[in-house]
């Protein structure tokens, strides 16, 4: 086995270091072992420096100890490991090479891996409603007539409302009509990141050529260009080149172009040259349709009332709707039950709970005294009449069940009682709850009040 020595070293270090240290700094290192030399790869400079400074000594010592005292040469570099099956030599640098090791993707300095369109984002899977009719129609026109209809097409609106979906739908349609078209989709962050890397690696010409040769350039979330002057400058030129060549540009943003802070005026004004359309949050019917459609795509049987139930409770955006659907689906898979409204309620219990209600003893005492219409102070007093003792015992039992306080702590909170008193109350209530309808009812009422 190639990494036997390193694997053994991991085993020892796992026992010596805290789980945090081990899982953050040691386990993520990729080891390349060759002829008694071990090269460790860290994902970035930060991790490398940290390990070098604080853990390298311990690593070397452990390795030496494992290799019967011989000095194992170990070095630390930045890089990611490629699967050995693809190219076994890619991760082995020349021993003296001072340059950081990059995976082949980055090594190529190429940007070709960034234009991935998501095939599932099409016009067919885009649910139309009042809130997005206009942007959908505009996007469709652009897809049918790229570079000519509206250029640029600027789509703005809140998060999770389908801007990215529309953008991909246009790209996919252009590709479907002309498979040789060069459609580039990129998040603005990527554009900035690629540019920085291109400057570092001296491949800025390749960067420019790549983006300026697009037939359609789709840039998502351009608000992230804010305050990045150099990227804006480069983007401005790319943008002009494409527009002059009648190539399509589509941009999305979380707000109206004029409202984006930290963006050059000339860019903002260019953005307005084409068509600017807004997507609004979907109304109830659209949310229901979105859910049903998503369920259909994933072959989840989702009845209409269940979809309505989810859509009513998740008013915000499509991502949250999908999050709820994910949870319902996971629950259905786990329990093997069909989806209905009852089951949805159960599955989304904690998702819908706005806050994790922290139940405290004090809270329990107040709720119980209110419920039985007795005084709070009576609950803590020495009184032992049935009308006081029964609520007190219920409150103690609830404290035991809903908090993680110890019996002595609970006893203390109830007027300094002994822990055996609490234990007695709990045992008695467990019994009565099973056998007496009234007690059982009081319990479930109080539980409901306290936990929802």
């Amino acid at each position: 086995m190639a990494n036997a020595l390193w694997e053994s070293c991991l085993e020892l270090l796992e026992n010596e270091l805290s789980p945090q240290q081990f899982n953050t700094w040691i386990r993520p290192l990729h080891a390349v072992e060759q002829q008694g030399r071990i090269q460790l790869l860290a994902p970035n400079r930060f991790v490398k420096d940290w390990v070098q400074e604080r853990l390298m000594k311990q690593i070397s010592e452990t390795l030496c100890q494992l290799d019967n005292g011989s000095a194992v040469k170990v070095s630390l570099e930045i890089g990611t490991q490629q699967p050995p099956a693809i190219d076994p030599t890619a991760k082995l640098p020349a021993p003296s090479s001072p340059a950081p090791q990059f995976s082949r993707q980055e090594d190529a300095g190429g940007f070709g891996h960034r234009n991935s369109l998501k095939p599932e984002f099409t016009f067919d899977t885009f649910i139309e409603g009042k809130s997005n009719q206009l942007p959908r129609a505009a996007a469709l026109q652009v897809a049918e007539n790229p570079g000519a209809a509206y250029n640029p097409l600027f789509i703005y609106g809140g998060v999770g409302l389908g801007k990215t979906h529309l953008m991909h739908a246009v790209g996919n349609m252009i590709m479907a009509r002309n498979p040789r078209a060069r459609v580039i989709y990129v998040h603005s962050e990527r554009f900035v990141g690629d540019m920085v890397k291109a400057f570092q690696h001296n491949t800025i010409d390749g960067f420019k050529r790549y983006y300026r040769s697009a037939d359609a350039l789709l840039i998502d979330d351009i608000q992230f260009f804010a305050n990045k002057e150099r990227s804006q400058e480069e983007f401005f030129h790319t943008f002009n080149t494409l527009l002059e060549g009648q190539r399509q540009v589509i941009l999305t943003c979380d707000r109206y172009p004029k409202e984006v802070g930290g963006l050059e005026e000339r860019l903002k004004s260019r953005f307005g040259h084409g068509l600017t359309v807004a997507v609004e949050p979907p109304e109830l019917e659209t949310r229901v349709a979105i859910l049903i459609n998503k369920a259909l795509q994933r072959r989840i049987v989702l009845p209409n009332e269940a979809a309505f139930f989810i859509a009513k409770r998740i008013p915000s955006n499509v991502r949250d709707l999908e999050g709820a659907l994910n949870r319902v689906h996971a629950h259905a898979r786990f329990t093997g039950r069909p989806i209905d409204t009852e089951m949805v309620k159960e599955a989304l219990k904690d998702l819908l709970a706005m806050q994790d209600k922290q139940v405290t003893i004090d809270n329990i005492q107040k709720t119980v005294s209110e419920y039985f219409k007795i005084r709070y102070s009576d609950l803590l007093s020495k009184k032992r009449s049935r009308s006081i003792a029964y609520p007190r015992q219920i409150a103690m039992t609830l404290a035991r069940e809903l908090t993680s306080h110890s019996l002595p702590e609970i006893g203390e909170a109830f007027g300094g009682r002994d822990h055996t008193t609490v234990l007695h109350a709990c045992r008695k209530m467990v019994n009565e709850r099973r056998n007496t309808a009234r007690v059982s009812e009081d319990f479930s009422n109080l539980l409901r009040i306290l936990t929802t």
Binding site: E11, P19, P43, T80, D320, Q358, H419
Partner: protein, 230 residues
């Protein structure tokens, strides 16, 4: 190469999925077992009060992934003050990414931004994201809406507390892992007298283990009583 563990090494409380008692969290537990070592699923956002085992589950998932031959990266963001957001650079290449306590860096624009871009890169890369926080995504106080909406998009689970019988089992399992026998009577005795959150219970176990080792005695009720001064 055959290797032997040196003598005198202390058995650590390794966090694994096997030594986590799921209780009411069995759906989440099954999901983790399926996705930590196998094919990546949707991003998981796990939230709940402290002491319920969020960190345990993340460590366990990393362990599980490693056993299955997948590399993993764990980042405790409660220590975010010691790190710079650049620690997230390039880590999307790990098939499993565990980000613990992201609530600790919410409201810090640089971190939120770095997490947002990491989220996108991890999605593109097909890496499994496991994220924990003390509150639900909506309560996180995340000032970057793009990040906030993405956190709610995957699978969101609230970690629930386990009941006393499960706590008893959890304690005994951890004791057994350390080579310590903890009888039912002793555990029942403890559960009646100390706060029953797992960190307190595990800390007490550590204390009992040390004391028993030093005194070369078994852990019995009289021993516990003596040690705790009850």
């Amino acid at each position: 190469m055959t290797l032997q563990l040196p003598l005198g090494i202390r058995l650590r409380d390794l966090a694994t999925l096997e030594n986590f008692i799921p209780g009411r969290n069995n759906e989440l537990y099954a999901w983790l077992g399926e996705h930590a070592g196998g094919v990546a699923g949707r991003p998981l956002y796990l939230w709940g009060a402290s002491g319920l085992g969020k960190t345990h589950l993340l460590h366990a998932a990393c362990h599980h992934a490693h056993r299955a031959g997948r590399s993993a990266f764990y980042l405790p963001l409660e220590q975010g003050g010691q790190f710079a957001p650049q620690i997230l650079d390039g880590i999307e290449h790990y098939p499993l990414l565990a980000l613990d306590n992201i609530d600790c860096v919410m409201g810090l624009p640089q971190w939120e931004h770095a997490l947002f871009t990491l989220y996108n890169r991890a999605q593109d890369q097909g890496s499994q994201l496991l994220i924990t926080a003390n509150v639900a995504p909506a309560q996180l106080g995340c000032t970057l809406p793009d990040l906030r909406s993405r956190l709610g998009w995957g699978l969101v689970y609230q970690l629930q507390d386990i009941d006393d019988a499960d706590k008893m089992q959890a304690l005994q399992r951890r004791a057994a892992q350390r080579g310590l026998v903890l009888g039912d009577d002793v555990v029942a005795y403890l559960l009646k007298r100390v706060p029953r959150d797992m960190p307190t219970l595990f800390a007490l176990l550590e204390r009992l283990d040390q004391a028993a080792l030093a005194a070369k005695r078994k852990v019995t009720i009289p021993f516990v009583r003596e040690l705790q001064g009850w």
